[in-house]
């Protein structure tokens, strides 16, 4: 049998052995599902937070209470408008969209002005009347989101004229959920605002007291603070002689910078939101590269420790040379890595394509970008060099260890070093051709991940080729050194060698 035949047999056994394990299937399915859930759960939690009851005791005369009520109403309207925009984009044919005028039907940011227009137009009630005539056949009914906050009247035993501290004490059992504030949900009081008697919005001498037991829930506090700040500023402008309308007009004024990029000169240079989103595609590919390599490199480590500790290695080495065995293992596990990669990409795309509106468009744009750019050949090259470097190090270290615990102590410092690109991702994304990214791109163990991220910013091709050549040379050097360590150490018994001994083994090679 030829050398290649023996390598192929070892590789085939490795692939089959791991492909039949439960861990392999769990890794393939769980990672994209967990990634999707990690993205969806916070959004779902935010959208499905139960309404929180709060009460306001306004000792200053009721103006603040009115402002807060208006703020809550605007917040409800804003959420309803956002939901309506998404619903309209998914369920209304484009020719019917203008009928939802005057509100803007397309997805996007919603300003206070949009909310005001929407409320003036008739709000959710008007939309509900109109929608059945506009939606596509079979479209689901529009369900506007419920309110985030519901203001309730203070409990009757609380004296609204009492000292704020005394009111807080009286509300205490309600805020601690020891007593319900209402018979229907939300039944328990989440927070209470106490506006002191002498409180003046424009020139306060005391603060509005915000009582709650959920001190890390800033939603209502932030909402009310922003609204009252804006109201205070409007009142102060009026004191200066400006009309409310003039102030409102000034508030609507926004100065925007339109970003342009030389990379988009063919289409006028204008940078769209889509372009920004697509910048994260290479980042995603780099993360995928990192995760897939580390996942399978660990399999190599565990596999070789098993073969070493149960003495199977000696039988195998009577049939194949250490080099053939190592090459077979690297090849077989690379196959597992590629299978996992393809599965992750496929499951990820399936999840995105079957998701709601914007993710579908993003999935299509991402696929087009990957297919049109240098990403596929670059990804293949960086996978090979990254895998060869890291996997052969894991295999080499596995060959000197008798147990996972021994391997852990050798690998821990190495893992810290190899994880560095993770910490550099954000600075690199912000400045892909800056000194951090450029320097990291020349460090061979980081090159595959760093250059993958940088590719979207068109770094000089000489740099791409030169860093690629350096990392290729480095990966071959590491593979050669680890093959010598593997050959020297695989039949060794006893404690793992010290670093200096490993160095000697690599130099000696047998």
């Amino acid at each position: 049998m030829s050398v290649l035949g023996r390598i192929f047999l070892v590789a085939k056994r490795e692939y089959k052995h791991h492909a039949q394990s439960k861990g392999f299937w769990l890794t393939m399915v769980a990672v994209p599902v967990i990634a999707a859930l990690a993205g969806l759960i916070p959004q779902w939690v935010q959208e499905n937070k139960p309404a929180r009851a709060f009460t306001v005791i306004d000792q200053s005369g009721g103006a603040i209470l009115a402002d807060i009520d208006a703020t809550i109403a605007a917040d409800n309207a804003k959420r309803a408008l956002a939901a309506l925009k998404d619903y309209a984009a998914d369920n209304i044919p484009p020719e019917s969209v203008p009928m939802l005028s005057p509100m803007a039907p397309a997805r996007g940011d919603i300003t206070a002005d949009d909310v005001a227009v929407f409320q003036a137009w008739g709000g959710v009630e008007k939309a509900k009347e109109l929608l059945p005539k506009l939606v596509r056949e079979g479209a689901p009914a529009f369900n506007p989101p419920g309110p985030r906050f519901v203001r309730v009247e203070p409990p009757p035993e609380v004296d609204p004229a009492a000292d704020p501290a005394a009111i807080g004490t009286a509300l205490s059992p309600y805020l601690r959920a020891e007593k319900p504030i209402a018979q229907t949900a939300p039944a328990y009081l989440s927070s209470a605002l106490i506006v002191p008697q002498d409180y003046v919005l424009t020139r306060p001498t005391t603060a509005i007291q915000y009582w709650t037991t959920n001190i890390n829930d800033f939603d209502l506090q932030t909402l009310v603070e922003r609204a009252l700040t804006a109201e205070a500023q409007r009142a102060m402008y009026e004191e200066q002689g400006m009309s409310r309308d003039a102030v409102a007009a000034i508030e609507q004024r926004r100065v925007a910078l339109q970003p342009f990029s030389p990379d988009k000169q063919e289409s006028g240079g204008e940078v769209e939101m889509k372009d920004r989103l697509l910048n994260i595609v290479p980042l995603g590919l780099a993360l995928l590269l990192w995760m897939s390599i580390f996942t399978v490199a660990n399999l190599l480590l565990l596999g070789v420790i098993e073969e070493r500790s149960n003495k199977l290695i000696e039988v195998l080495l009577s049939s194949v040379s250490a080099e053939e065995f190592m090459a077979g293992k690297l090849l077989g596990i690379a196959g597992i890595g590629l299978t996992i990669l393809v599965a992750w990409l496929t499951v990820g795309l399936i999840i995105m394509i079957n998701g709601s509106g914007p993710t579908v468009a993003f999935a299509h744009d991402a696929i087009n970008l990957i297919l049109s750019g240098p990403y596929i050949p670059a990804f293949a090259f960086y996978f090979v060099v990254g895998y060869l470097t890291i996997a052969s190090v894991f295999l080499g270290l596995g060959s000197v260890c008798n147990s996972q615990q021994e391997a852990q102590s050798l690998l821990t410092p190495l893992i810290f070093v190899l994880m560095l690109p993770f910490f550099l991702l954000m600075p690199m994304l912000e400045d892909p051709n800056g000194p951090i990214a450029t320097t990291a791109g020349w460090i061979p163990v980081y090159t595959p991940f760093v250059m993958m991220v940088r590719l979207s910013t068109n770094p000089p091709w000489t740099e791409v080729v030169a860093t690629g050549a350096v990392t290729l040379f480095f990966s071959i050097l590491v593979l050669w050194a680890m093959a010598r360590l593997f050959k020297s150490a695989i039949l060794r018994t006893g404690q793992p060698p010290r670093l200096i001994e490993m160095w000697r083994m690599m130099r000696r090679g047998s």
Binding site: H17, N310, K311, L312, E314, V315, S319
Partner: protein
């Protein structure tokens, strides 16, 4: 025997790890079609020698020839090897394991599978052919390893402590298998420190101690190296016995009064000793002139401190 005719030939082979000499100046030849015993106490250099023989580690000095090749790796498809410490992939089945190792030895998939099934049937493992190795008993797993060693019908079979861990019944099965291999004309080299197997099976023996050759030859040649010892039970005292012709040493049994072990000069005749006892009126109640066991030869040749398993009670 010349190197060219040998299944295995070692010429002044040595292996050093730094200053430590695991094997030193080892020379021997193994004739094709013979059973060769590779004996030595623990740590004597047996496994290192076998690994050099198999090309897993390179010798520091000397020359090795295996089936005419300077490296066993060059003829790996004609060699079967069972290491001392054995393991299998726990999640593979016996059938998959044997077929995989047969294929690594160059067999095609279909004949490897057919032969594996035949062997599993012959050795009573057919019902477990598709069970996972982790579900088998230790004895069954050891059988699988032995079958994987011979599945490709190797010309040379190297077994490192093959009897270790086997129960008496399976030790007997393995002895029969080794004899079958010899009948088929294959060469078998096995290492052991259980002397009774070597005594029963080997055509020639090699004793290694502290990395050096202590003896190489047949069992009879080994016995010839040993001085004759005779056990006597008598009312005579040690001085009377020491005066007998041909006696060089008298050792009294510390437990049984009146029992002695006499060490004779090389070539001294036991019958003359018996005659001298009668002529001198020494009253004998016991006289044992049996040949020395390999165990005794081993201890004598390898020297004090050698760990030798007295197989009485462990071997069939």
């Amino acid at each position: 025997m010349s190197t060219g005719e040998s299944a295995i030939s070692f010429r002044e082979v040595g292996k050093s790890y730094g200053d430590f000499r695991a094997v030193e100046g080892l020379s021997f030849n193994v004739a094709p079609g013979s059973i060769y015993g590779f004996l030595g106490p623990n740590g004597a250099g047996k496994t290192t020698s076998l690994r050099m023989m198999l090309g897993m580690i390179a010798p520091s000095t000397g020359e090795i020839s295996v089936l005419g090749s300077p490296s066993a790796m060059g003829v790996r498809e004609r060699v079967g090897y069972l290491p001392e410490e054995r393991g299998l992939y726990r999640r593979m089945t016996p059938l998959e394991t044997i077929v995989y190792l047969a294929r690594l030895k160059g067999m095609d998939a279909a004949p490897a599978r057919k032969k594996a099934l035949e062997l599993l049937e012959r050795f009573g493992l057919a019902a477990f052919a598709k069970s996972r190795i982790e579900a088998l008993s230790k004895g069954m797993a050891q059988k699988v390893q032995i079958l994987a060693t011979i599945v490709h019908a190797p010309d040379l079979v190297i077994l490192d402590e093959p009897f270790s861990g086997l129960d008496p019944v399976n030790q007997q099965v393995l002895e029969e298998l080794v004899e079958d291999l010899r009948r088929e004309g294959r060469t078998v080299l096995f290492s052991t420190h259980v002397m009774q197997h070597a005594e029963r099976l080997c055509d020639r023996l090699l004793l290694i101690a502290r990395g050096k050759l202590a003896f190489e030859g047949t069992l009879d040649e080994a016995r010839d190296r040993m001085p004759q010892t005779i056990k006597l039970t008598t009312s005579a005292d040690a001085a009377d016995l020491a005066a007998l012709p041909g006696v060089v040493k008298v050792a009294a049994d510390p437990v049984h009064a009146g029992s002695y072990e006499l060490t004779m000069k090389n070539g001294a005749d036991g019958e003359n000793l018996l005659r001298s006892c009668f002529e001198r009126g020494l009253q004998l109640t016991g006289f044992d002139m049996s040949e020395p066991a390999l165990h005794d030869i081993f201890v004598a040749l390898v020297g004090e401190g050698a760990e030798v398993a007295d197989s009485r009670g462990t071997a069939p």
